[in-house]
């Protein structure tokens, strides 16, 4: 196990202490062609809350996550992030998609960690982390470099700052990806199956970083089957099936007394 320093968020500033709602999704619908993958999903996530979304593949959990930062357009319902409609604006009561620039501006405050890392292969770990703060936030390169160094140090990669992604292991790449997202000082972090492309022995080093983040108060929505993470760090677990949320509760609820048959069957397979 890699030694990972505490206080990740000290580098980029601790989250707001207020208990306001960060994500408010109401009756979200999404279809790919004739296939309806989200059939009315509603979810509220408060600041500092950590929500784990589980469910079988094809249940729509990844699609829902991607809708939150508008990587997917939605066909119905609304998603608000920090009180603002995400990707849309109201025009005479109708929802119209926002301009690309405005969507980009909204996404600055939402970190997204991908299943397949998606690091920029032509840039070193350090450049990966400092690229967006400089380009998008207009941060001074020297300042961004210092912050990027600190972040990489805190995720246990101080010795890999000048390394290109191709020379990093999957676990290391994912930790760079988390540092890259944090460098934008997001109010919300979304994780899309962050450990499912990793070899088993590398899952731990990524989960440690995520748990640390959760303990420091980052608002997080995590799509994953890592029930160990639920036990350690999640406030709430949401079970999705067939485009809907079918059960919701504390991690203890899911470990001890899931209600739905579908949930029981699913948990018996992953636990």
């Amino acid at each position: 196990m890699v030694e990972i320093g505490d206080h990740l968020l000290d580098v980029v500033g601790a989250p707001d202490a207020a208990d306001d709602v960060v994500v408010a999704a109401k009756d979200v619908r999404k279809s790919f062609g004739r296939l309806e993958v989200l059939k009315g999903v509603s979810l509220e996530v408060k600041r500092r809350e950590v929500v784990l979304i589980i469910g079988p593949s094809g249940s729509g959990k990844t699609t829902f996550l991607r809708c939150i930062n508008h990587l997917e357009k939605i066909n119905g319902g609304t998603i608000e992030v920090s009180g603002h409609l995400m990707g849309y604006r109201r025009d005479n009561g109708r929802l119209v998609e926002e301009k690309e620039k405005e969507i980009a501006r909204q996404r600055r405050d939402i970190g997204f960690v991908f299943q397949r890392f998606n690091l920029f292969p032509h840039k070193t770990a350090l450049e990966n982390v400092m690229e967006a703060p400089v380009l998008v936030r207009g941060q001074k390169p020297e300042e961004a470099r210092e912050i990027a160094r600190s972040l990489l140090d805190r995720v246990g990669l101080a010795h890999k700052v000048e390394t290109y992604p191709a020379q990093l292991s999957g676990g290391q790449q994912q930790r760079v990806a988390i540092a890259r997202a944090l460098a934008m000082r997001p109010a919300l972090m979304l994780f899309d199956e962050p450990t499912s492309a990793l070899d088993p022995e590398m899952i731990g080093e990524v989960l440690v970083v995520m748990e640390e983040l959760a303990h420091e108060g980052m608002t997080m929505i995590v799509v994953s089957h890592e029930m160990g993470f639920a036990r350690e760090a999640a406030d709430r677990v949401v079970m999705m099936d067939d485009g809907q949320i079918i059960e919701e509760g504390t991690p203890e609820h899911f470990f001890s007394a899931p209600v739905q048959e579908r949930t029981k069957a699913f948990l018996s397979k992953i636990l």
Partner: protein, 263 residues
């Protein structure tokens, strides 16, 4: 047949101003036309991939016309055609003390437009070969489409584009010979005139071929260097290959050499 060693040797080892000028003109026209081609290629590729239908149509129309008609016809149409129709007369241009004739201008414009059509397809393929996850990651960090293209997608696509771009420029160096029909005194035309004066077509055209071979060989070295530089960050990259490899490469020759080495 008697080979005139003196005339041949002079044309190679003691080139007169006439040959030097032709050589320079060929290089300058090639470089400018290729730059125009690459710029048009980037615009064309972004147009082809655009979400806006009119831009896609415009780009498709451009490709359809310039890939569907002979370059030779484009050249004479631009220069003689437009001139005779009084649409554009191609007046001489004086830049930095050099006079650029209308024929050279028309030649560069036609070569650049033609090249742009081919570069469009090469650059489009390069962009499409980049994992869509790269664009998504860039967007998730708050970059706009333009920022993500410029900083993330195009630099990666460049790696894929450079080898075929190198081949395009190799081709461009040779294709400039077509400007002969506009009366531009580039390298080929220089030797056409020379052999007309000294009645030594065998020696002169052989010398002409060697000069072109020298240009494309130098370019081959530069191309290999560029490919190696662009390969930074890719695992075990030996892109480009050695000089010999690139001069005499056939499909699979690099692999053959590699296996031969292990025996």
């Amino acid at each position: 047949m008697k080979f005139n060693t003196d005339a041949f040797g002079d044309a190679i080892f003691q080139p007169d101003q006439f040959i030097i000028n032709g050589l320079l003109l060929t290089v300058v026209i090639s470089v400018i036309s290729q730059i125009i081609g690459v710029v048009l290629g980037v615009l064309g590729a972004l147009g082809r991939l655009s979400r806006k239908a009119p831009l896609r149509w415009l780009s498709a129309l451009y490709l359809w016309i310039f890939r569907g008609t002979p370059l030779l016809v484009q050249l004479v149409f631009f220069y003689f055609g437009l001139g005779a129709a009084h649409i554009f007369g191609w007046p001489d241009l004086v830049l930095f003390g050099f006079t650029i004739t209308g024929a050279i201008q028309a030649g560069i414009v036609a070569l650049g437009l033609n090249e742009g059509a081919y570069m469009t397809e090469i650059i489009r393929a390069g962009i499409l070969s980049i994992d869509p996850g790269q664009m998504e990651a860039a967007k998730s960090l708050g970059m706009t489409y333009g920022q993500a293209m410029r900083r993330i997608v195009l630099p990666q696509a460049a790696r894929i584009i450079v080898p075929p771009l190198g081949n395009e420029f190799n081709n461009m160096l040779k294709t400039t010979a077509l400007l002969f029909v506009l009366g531009v005194q580039e390298l080929y035309n220089t030797f056409v005139i020379k052999q007309g004066n000294n009645f030594l077509p065998f020696e002169m055209y052989l010398a002409c071929a060697l000069w072109f071979l020298l240009l494309t060989t130098i370019w081959g070295v530069i191309q290999g260097w560029m490919e190696r530089r662009l390969a930074r960050g890719t695992p075990g990259s030996q892109a480009g290959g050695g000089l010999l490899d690139r001069l005499f490469s056939f499909r699979g020759s690099a692999a053959d050499t590699a296996t031969a080495g292990t025996h």
